[in-house]
């Protein structure tokens, strides 16, 4: 059975993989949107944060002696920064803070040093490491630029990407790495990816759902739900929304604006690592990963720069457009042209995106 001249099952396959890969795109978009929402900076370095985060995950996921020690040091550094800069609960006493940090460090240290569960260790270690990365980027490069013109911050995030690329190169080189996290152990004792779900005899062929993409999609949905709830119902989320809208006023009502911005970057760092890990688990971690973030920019604009839900919808739409474009016109059109054509159309027709706030700078 054909749908517009293409075999029906192939179209359905394109639809399904489009939506599922769209989930990963959406996660990437979410990281960009969160920073934009809190600080109004569009983070061109997100792809490079992904690369670094993914490789960090890979390092912790390897059974290496060094990894837990590094992770432990990381958690120490992170908590040290948190204790000086991001004292969030406003009225905590110094003693309370010290106690909290000690307990948190001990707990994460215990997980990192004691557990044999590689995945758990990798998750904790990567979360700590990438949060620290986000904080450092914000502190060292973005904060000094407050009140500079727009293209200075654009330039800054572009260049931060370069530096991150250099750091990645220096530490990990550029050999590609496979990241089999959604895997069982097979007869040979090797990790084996979960088998895909096959639906036979649909519209004239077999349609396949990749398990790791499905899991990735599930994680993306969970992350989105989490963030929507976070922004709606938690004080920190509320503070971030407030800061995004009017940083001066937020400070006047007593919010620690700089802390809120730092937290946004830390969250974005963790999200970048999450997206990279999920992407890496379905192919491999390669040095070309930052290019993926470029293709997600249209998704961010389509959804609207400040909209969490928009990031989700935008990611799905771009994922779908790419795959269906590939089915109908081949991959040179589908993957290389369509996202940017969508981008141009969005800019001309509805610059604020589908769900963005309408305070767009119009001429």
């Amino acid at each position: 059975m054909d749908i517009f001249g293409q075999p029906g099952f192939a179209v359905l396959q394109g639809l399904i993989t489009g939506v599922l890969t769209g989930g990963i795109y959406a996660l990437i978009a979410l990281g960009i949107v969160i920073i934009n929402k809190a600080s109004g900076v569009f983070n061109f370095a997100h792809g490079y944060m992904m690369l670094l985060g993914g490789l960090l995950f890979w390092t912790f996921f390897q059974n290496q002696q060094l990894a837990p020690i590094v992770a432990f040091a990381l958690s120490g550094a992170l908590l040290a920064i948190l204790s000086t800069g991001v004292r969030y609960p406003a009225t905590w006493t110094r003693g309370g803070r010290v106690a909290f940090i000690s307990v948190a460090w001990a707990a994460s240290g215990f997980i990192l040093l004691q557990t044999d569960n590689l995945l758990l260790r990798a998750i904790v270690g990567t979360a700590l490491g990438t949060a620290l990365l986000g904080l450092l980027i914000e502190r060292l490069t973005i904060r000094p630029l407050i009140s500079q013109p727009l293209f200075t911050t654009v330039m800054m995030t572009l260049v931060v990407g370069e530096v991150l690329l250099g750091v990645t190169q220096l530490t990990w080189g550029s050999v590609e790495r496979s990241l089999p996290i959604f895997a069982t152990t097979n007869a040979l004792g090797l990790p084996q990816a979960y088998p895909p779900i096959r639906i036979r005899d649909v519209l004239g062929g077999t349609v396949v759902i990749k398990t790791e993409l499905l899991i990735a999609f599930g994680i993306a949905v969970a992350a989105f739900t989490g963030f929507v709830l976070f922004f709606r119902y938690t004080r920190l989320g509320l503070s971030m929304r407030a800061t995004a809208e009017n940083a001066d006023l937020a400070q006047a009502v007593g919010l620690r604006v700089r802390a809120v911005l730092a937290v946004a970057w830390a969250i974005a760092g963790v999200l970048a690592a999450l997206a990279a890990t999920l992407h890496g688990s379905s192919t491999a971690l390669a040095i070309t990963l930052p290019g993926l973030a470029l293709r997600v920019f249209p998704a961010v604009l389509l959804g609207g720069l400040e909209s969490i839900g928009g990031a989700f919808v935008g990611g799905l739409v771009i994922g779908l457009a790419e795959k269906l474009g590939t089915v109908y016109f081949g991959s040179d059109v589908g993957e290389q042209l369509i996202p940017f054509v969508v981008l141009m159309i969005v800019l001309v027709v509805r610059p604020s995106g589908l769900f963005g706030e309408k305070r767009i700078e119009r001429v």
Binding site: A10, Q62, L165, V175, L188
Partner: protein
Amino acid sequence: MRTRLLAFALVFALALVSLSLGQPAPTAFAQGGMMRTECKEDLTGKTITLHTFGDLSGPFAPITQPLAAGFADALKYYNANGGICGAAITLQQDDTAGRQEQTQSLYQRYRAFDPKPLMLLLYSSADAELLREQVADDEIPVFLFAGSTIGLYGEQADTPGWIFAGIPLYTDQFGAFCRWLGKAWTTDLGREGSPKVGHLSWEGAFGRSSETAETTAYCAAQGVEVVGGEYFLPTATDVTAQINNLVSKGANVLFTTSLASGTALIAKDLVTLGLEEEVLLSGVNWALDSSVGLLGQATFKPSGLPSTDNIYGIMPYIWWDEPTDGTKLVQEQFTANQRPLTARGISYLAGFGAIDTYIELITQTVNRVGYDNLSGAEVKKTFETFKYDALGGVFKYNFAENVRAQNSARIGRLTYARGADGMPIVVEVGGNKLLVPVVLPVTTEFETVPDLKPGGADVVN
């Protein structure tokens, strides 16, 4: 990692292919076990530089990083064993990050070196294509570890030809594969019907190099139909749509001109779609590499072997596990320098072999014109009649007036090392269990690949 198979049970040296050089009766001597031309001049105390730049950190990195490791180890080894007739070899190396902009500016810098580079070693099709005219202007010959037709012969197979390729042209590789496929389809491969090939490659000069009008026509003459091509980005997460497109056009063979994760992704998605038996995966020589074999281990076929098991392709050299003096030497150095398993691929061999080749090339040139008269133009002259078995036959070069690319190859198959019981051997590296990728020859004899450059000898009209 050292297994029975890898331990080279058969290390007794084969009688090396004699160095049948075009030069008047050169005497041969052994340098580290390899036979090479005797030096006429003692260059002790001098330094000769090998110049190379390429993509060490871009999309080609998975093969170029082991290549750089091969350079480094070979330099260390050969410098300790006499260098070039006593002269020390130094390496001038830079990274282009896969950017043409950077290639151009590096080239401008290199060509202005004093003394001018005797030879430039490149490993990207796009770089060679970009610099083709310029190296001719500057009289710097290029030894290229890629098989770009345009790079070597230009748009219409015209001269100048200052570029010499260490592997067969990708067009010719594809032609050779078609030639074999046409013959082996129903016999060796035991398949039905006729082979129909779809190209599924990376976007870019490299990826698009094997699908040309000449190769399509040649393959048709061999009974192999080319049904079309899909070109995906190195960042793609998924190529099921592309595979479906090609399969619905009738393809039962996929031929890929991609590296490492590109090829591994195709193999994985073939398994995902359940097409691993129906569709044969094949590719240029880079598809038969450890980088692919290692990355393919996340997904397994129902047979219990990784998705990248049984990739067919062109094998223009000798693989690590074939017991020769050359592979033994490389294996020793590889172990001595504690290189990781990820580097145990073809590009490490290539890097090592390139240094060996360079030594021979310069030695021959010095013998012919003397050290003081060394120049790019003279090196090019040597190249034009260069016959050499690098690393004792791991790479066989035989250039002639109109042949500037290595042109003999076997058909190979990427699979995994097996023990005596026929089970794959599992090794543990850094706590991870891995299968060891190996490339086995499917056809044992090296055969001359068809000449499919525009206007080439085997072009079908």
